[in-house]
């Protein structure tokens, strides 16, 4: 399972990833797939483990500012509504 946390800008994505790194959570900054960015060219933070913890850290720091998607092993995306 893979999680995509959509970000408002590249800077926002980098800051989110750095925050998670500091908590020992591996997260990478990636350009979101076209289907996930309705206005084109969006960055996201992608992670495969410790999602609940990561989400909680980002929320505590007011860094969740976009949608979150879960991608299953077939590649299908599902938006997580929280």
């Amino acid at each position: 399972m893979m999680y995509w946390i959509m970000c408002r800008s590249l800077t926002h994505a980098q800051r989110s990833a750095r925050l998670l790194e500091r908590a020992g959570i591996t997260a990478v900054v990636v350009k979101a797939e076209a289907g996930l960015s309705e206005n084109g060219c969006r960055y996201a933070v992608k992670l495969s483990r410790r999602f609940e913890e990561a989400e909680s850290i980002l929320r505590r720091n007011d860094m969740i500012r976009g949608k979150i998607y879960r991608q299953d092993s077939t590649g299908r995306y599902e938006e997580l509504r929280r």
Binding site: S9, L10, H12, Q14, N39, C41, Y43
Partner: protein
Amino acid sequence: MIYLDSAATTLLKPQSVYSAVQRAMESMASPGRGAYPPAMQAAELLLDCREEAASLFSVEEPENVVFTMNATHALNIAITSLAKKGSRVVISGFEHNAVTRPLHALGADVVTARGELFDGASVVSGFAEALRGAELAVCTHVSNVFGFILPIAEIASLCKKEGVPLIIDASQSAGLLPIDMCALGAAFIAMPGHKGLHGPQGTGLLLCGESGRPLLYGGSGSDSRRQEMPEELPDRLEAGTHNVPGIAGLLAGLRFVREKDPEAIKNHEQTLLRQMADELEYCEELELFLASGEEQTGVLSLRSRRIDCETLASQLAERGVCVRAGLHCAPKAHRSAGTLESGTVRLSFSPFLSAEQISRAAAILRELLRRPL
């Protein structure tokens, strides 16, 4: 060569700045244009630089640190975000053309707060009188001509009380004086990268208390289907490819300043200024513009009663002493000080200058003043 024009550009930089520029040119691409390593390295550099600046100037979020080409560019963004034709805008009597020309071009109703050179209390009173009914205030932190440190905290406090947004021109103070964006509550603070922050020319910063209005429109690497600029900072105000090598140098400069400590740099420059003033004390034909207390950075204006400022600067240049003469793009400051007709010769110091160099420059100046016309 003795370089005494750091108020224009700090020509002498830390070695780390030169190395950082070269490294960036050799290894970094454009941030926000791809997820491949050279683009992501550039993106990491930009965030490092934003974080360093946010920490040095107490900006709440690194996103609110916007890269510009210079302080003029930053001031133009800030001013066009908050002023329009007919806006009543209060400014100090020591502003640079980077402030007054954009206001003039917009057709703003500009009111100059009264205030005497090296008299901070009079400037505060002037702002207190002028602020009522104003839509915007713009104030320099330090006069680029005289090194006069304006009481910016008091002026910011007055602006807060009157509900008037404040733009601060920190061109001559960044890297020398404490600047706390949160405490000042300024709408914007503009600064160059190539003066007290020791970055390369072509760099500048705009610290944003609000989102601002774009001055340039174009690619931001984000929200590309939309024809409007993104809402979010920094993308909103950063159209086009970044000056990555410049920003790499700026980051190295910021780190140098943090390591040296701005207070220590300021003290060194003030010591050099006092030394220069002492060594020129008995030149009766020289008029030195000196504060009686601590309200002057390492910038010294002077003029000769006998030799024109431009002539004197040229003669110094021929002898290897680099200074700037004339109006320094700040006729308003010269008008306030009564030097508009003559201009001044400006000597400005840096952390890379020694007492021995100051003595040599003073000796050359004294020798020139002794010569017959």
